[in-house]
Amino acid sequence: MENYVIATCSTADISLNHMLRIGVEYVKFSYFLNDVEYKDDLGQTMSHESFYQKLSQGCDSKTTQPNMESYKEFLYQFLNEGRDVILLNLSSGISGAQASAKIAEKELKSEFPERKIYIVDSLGASSGMGLLVDKMAELRKEGMGIDDLYAWTEKNKLRVQHWFFSTDLTFYVKGGRVSRVAGWFGTILKICPLLTVDKKGKLVPKEKIRGKSSVIRRIVDKMEENAINGLGYNGKCFISHSDCYEDAQEVKRLVEERFPFLDGRVLINNIGTTIGSHTGPGTVALFFFGKERVE
C-alpha cells in the first residue's frame, strides 16, 4: 500500500473507528463550551449525547479552527517521518481554516523541500468530507499515488452533494452561517428549511418545507434528482445528524428503499461538536456523489 498520509479535519463527521479502519488521520478543531475549551476528538472527551444535551440546556458553544501552528504541528509529525501528506480541509466557504493550513503548508515546504504536501479545500463539510475522504482512502488502497489522488480529488470534490434540513435554524443564524432572510424562520408554521452547499462551499437555503415528514421525503427526492444515475446510483451514501437519530433513520430507510444499487447500507454518523455547535440539534444531512455543483 502507498505510504503517504491522507488526513482530514475532525469536521469530517465520520467515527473514530471508521477513520482508523481506513487509515485516515485528522486535525482537531476545538470549541469552548461555557468558556471551557475542549478538543473536538470525535466524541472521546465528550460524547455527542452529552454535548447536545448541554446545547439544549442553553449552553453556549463557540468553535475555533486550528491556527497555523496547529496545522504545522499536525503536518510536521508525518513529514518528519518522511511521509507525504494530502489534507482534505473544511470548506473555505464556512471557515477560515483553509487559509491557516495554506500558510502552514508554505512554511513546511521550505523546511521539507523534498516532501509533497497537498492541501485540498474540500468545499464541503460534515460527512460530505467524510464521504470524500472515504473514497480517497479507497483509491489509495487500489494503488493510486498521491499526485493522482490530489488531481482526482480536485476534479471530483464538487461532485459530493450535500443536502440537509433543520427543524430549527436558531443556531445557524447565531453562527452567521446563513443570513436571515424574510420568511425563512417560520417557527409557528413548523417550517423545515432544506439547504445545500454550493460550489463555493457555502450553505444555501433552497426550499422551505412544512412538516418533518414532508422534508424527509423532499430530501430523498433531491438525491434522486442529483445523484449519479438517479435511482440507479451505486455509490456510497452517508447521513449525519445532530441528536435526531430517528429522523436520520427514516431518511436512511427511504434511501435504501428507493436506491436498490447502493454500495452497502447507508451509514449514519453523528454531526460532531464543531459542526454541531453551528447547527444545534435537529439537523439531518444527506451526502452522495452526484452532479457537479455548478451554482
Binding site: V181, G183, T187, L189, P205
Partner: protein
C-alpha cells in the same frame, strides 16, 4: 330628496348621466338581497348584490357634489370611482364595463343613441379583454347582448331612450338565457346574479329618465353606505386627532439599555401612550398619526417581535385591520408582500412569513381595489407580490396591478393555504419572474379542504344541502354536507389518504373552541392512523370557515 327635472330623451347630458348613476346605486342597494339570493353556491360568500352595490355606490358618492359637467367627464369620474371601489369579481367586471363606456364617451358633451350604443360596445370589448377566461351565462354575456341590441336599435332611431329601451329588453331576454348557458345555474334553476345586477342598473336608468325620483344625499348615502367598507375619503370629517392605534413589542439589542429618551419622544408623537420596559423587551401602545416614524425610532433599540397598526377611524366599521410587519418606509427593498386574510391567527402567520401588509378580508367580505391599492402603496419595494387568497378577490387584485404605477405581481391564490405555500416558494436571491413562477408552483402544490356552513338550501353536485348544515369543500368544490362534523372530517380524512402528501395543517376559526378543534384533530388522526402524516393545529381565528385544512 330632489325631484328631477324633465330629461331630454333624445340625448342625455352629463347631469343626466350623474343622476342615472346615483339612482342606479340606490336601486342596487334596494335590490341587493334579491340579487344575493340568486347565489346558487350554498357557501356563504362575498355576495354579488352587495359587491355590485358597493362598487356603484363609490361612483355615486363621487358624482354627488358635481352637477354640471359634460357626459365625458361624468363618465370618466364614474369609471375611476368604480375601478377603485370594485369589490368581488362582479364588481370588477362592472367597473371595467363602465371604464369602456367612459372611453366611448370621450369628447362627448351630450350622448345620443348612436354614441351610447358605441360606448356600450366599447365597454363590453374592454370587459371581455380584461377577463382572462370569459365565461358565458354571466354578467358579461348579458352586457354583450345588450350592446348588440343597442347597435341595432341605434341604427333604427338615434335616440338615447329608444336605445336604452332596446337594451333593457335584450337584457331581460339575455338574463333568462343565462340559466341555460351556465350549467351551474341550470341545475339550480336560477338566473345569473351579476346579470341581474346589470338589468337593475339599466331599469333604474329608464325610470330616472322618465321622471323617477332622484335619490340624493340622505337616502343615497344611507343606501350606499358600505356596511363593511373603509372610507378613506372621509378621514377629515371625523373627530379623532390621532388616527393610528399603534402597538408593538421590541426585543432590545442591549438588555437594560435606558429607554427614557424614547418615552419622551413618544410623548411628542401622539396620545394614549403606554410604554413598558422590562429590561429585555419594550412594549408600546400609542395613538399617533405617524406610525412609521414611531416604528422607525423603535428599531434603534432592537428588533420587532410584533407590530400592529390599526386605523381607529375605520375601526367602527369593523373592517379594515391592516397589519404592518417590520416596516421601515424610507428603505426601498427589492420585494414586498400584501396578503388578504381575516382572523388574527392567519394574519399573524402571514406576517411571520414576511408579509408587509395583511388586508383584512376574505369570504363574505371582499376588500375593494382601493383598500388593496392602499396597502400596496404603503410598501416601498421594487416589486410587490399580492396574494388574494380567495377566488373572488383575485380580479380586484389584478385590477390594482393594472391601475397602479408600481410593479405588482398577483399570485392568484384561491385559498389561505395556497397563499401560505406561495410565501414559502419565495426566494430573495432570485428575480421577480423566477419568484412568480416558484410561488405559483408552490401554491398549486397544496391541497385545501374547508369546512363551513350552508348559507342556504341548495341542490348541487348530487348533494341535497339544507341551510345550516356543515359543508366541506375540496379546492372550493363541494365535497360533503351534513350535521355531524365528525362524518365531515372522516370524508376529508379519506380524501387525504388518497394523496401522497405528508403534512396536514388545521387552521380553526373564530367560532371553534380549542377543545373542539383538538377533537377534530384527534378524529382526523384516527382516520389517518398508519399513514405517514404529520398533523398540526393552528388558531387561525378566521370567520365563516370553521376549519381550513391544508395538505402538502
Amino acid at each position: 330628496m330632489v325631484k328631477s327635472k324633465k330629461i331630454s330623451h333624445e340625448k342625455i347630458s352629463g347631469k343626466d348621466y350623474r343622476n342615472l348613476i346615483i339612482n342606479a346605486a340606490y336601486e342596487l342597494e334596494k335590490n341587493k338581497s334579491e340579487i344575493n339570493d340568486l347565489n346558487v353556491f350554498p357557501v356563504p360568500d362575498g355576495d354579488t348584490g352587495s359587491n355590485l352595490s358597493l362598487t356603484v355606490a363609490n361612483a355615486a358618492k363621487e358624482l354627488l357634489n358635481e352637477e354640471n359637467q359634460g357626459i365625458d367627464e361624468a363618465a370618466e369620474k364614474t369609471a375611476r370611482a368604480m375601478l377603485r371601489g370594485a369589490r368581488g369579481n362582479s364588481g370588477v367586471i362592472i367597473s371595467l364595463l363602465f371604464r369602456g363606456i367612459a372611453k366611448g364617451l370621450k369628447n362627448t358633451i351630450e350622448c345620443d343613441g348612436v354614441t351610447w350604443a358605441k360606448a356600450l360596445l366599447k365597454g363590453v370589448e374592454d370587459a371581455y379583454s380584461a377577463v382572462e377566461k370569459p365565461a358565458e351565462g354571466t354578467i358579461l354575456t348579458v352586457a354583450k347582448k345588450c350592446a348588440q341590441a343597442a347597435k341595432t336599435a341605434a341604427e333604427e332611431c338615434n335616440s338615447f331612450e329608444y336605445v336604452l329601451d332596446a337594451t333593457i329588453k335584450a337584457a331581460e331576454k339575455a338574463l333568462q338565457e343565462t340559466t341555460r348557458e351556465n350549467p351551474v345555474l341550470e341545475k339550480a334553476g336560477v338566473v345569473d346574479a351579476g346579470g341581474m345586477g346589470l338589468l337593475v342598473v339599466m331599469k333604474s336608468m329608464h325610470q330616472t329618465l322618465n321622471g323617477g325620483k332622484l335619490h340624493l344625499e340622505g337616502e343615497a348615502s344611507n343606501a350606499t353606505k358600505p356596511h363593511t367598507g373603509a372610507d378613506f375619503s372621509s378621514y377629515d370629517t371625523e373627530n379623532i386627532t390621532f388616527a393610528y392605534c399603534t402597538e408593538f413589542i421590541v426585543k432590545k439589542k442591549q438588555e437594560n439599555e435606558d429607554t427614557s429618551g424614547f418615552k419622551v419622544y413618544l410623548n411628542t408623537m401622539g396620545d394614549s401612550l403606554v410604554m413598558v420596559d422590562d429590561g429585555e423587551i419594550i412594549k408600546v401602545h400609542i395613538h399617533t398619526n405617524e406610525p412609521y416614524e414611531v416604528l422607525g425610532q423603535a428599531l434603534k433599540y432592537g428588533e420587532y417581535e410584533t407590530v400592529k397598526v390599526e386605523n381607529m377611524r375605520t375601526q367602527h366599521t369593523d373592517k379594515i385591520g391592516m397589519q404592518v410587519a417590520q416596516q421601515k418606509k424610507s428603505e426601498v427593498k427589492p420585494y414586498g408582500f400584501v396578503a388578504v386574510a381575516s382572523g388574527e391567527g392567519l394574519t399573524q402567520l402571514f406576517i411571520e412569513l414576511g408579509a408587509d401588509y395583511v388586508v383584512s378580508g376574505g369570504q363574505t367580505m371582499n376588500p375593494s381595489c382601493e383598500e388593496i391599492e392602499y396597502a400596496v402603496n404603503q410598501i416601498n419595494a421594487d416589486t410587490v407580490f399580492v396574494l388574494p387568497n380567495n377566488k373572488n378577490i383575485i380580479m380586484a387584485c389584478e385590477q390594482v396591478a393594472l391601475l397602479s404605477q408600481k410593479n405588482i405581481v398577483v399570485i392568484p391564490t384561491k385559498t389561505v393555504p395556497q397563499g401560505i405555500s406561495a410565501m414559502l416558494g419565495f426566494d430573495e436571491s432570485t428575480g421577480p419572474n423566477e419568484n412568480e413562477e416558484a410561488m405559483n408552483e408552490m401554491a398549486q402544490g397544496v391541497s385545501t379542504f374547508q369546512v363551513t356552513y350552508a348559507a342556504r338550501n341548495s341542490s348541487l353536485d348530487g348533494l341535497d344541502i339544507k341551510e345550516g348544515e356543515y359543508l366541506a369543500l375540496e379546492e372550493n368544490q363541494l365535497l360533503e354536507s351534513g350535521y355531524d362534523i365528525f362524518n365531515i372530517v372522516d370524508t376529508i380524512g379519506e380524501k387525504i389518504k388518497q394523496q401522497e402528501k405528508n403534512t396536514v395543517s388545521i387552521y380553526y376559526g373564530t367560532d371553534v373552541s380549542e377543545y373542539d378543534a383538538q377533537r377534530v384533530l384527534e378524529e382526523l388522526a384516527r382516520i389517518l392512523k398508519g399513514s405517514d402524516v404529520e398533523i398540526n393545529l393552528y388558531n387561525g381565528g378566521q370567520p365563516i370557515y370553521y376549519f381550513i385544512i391544508s395538505l402538502e
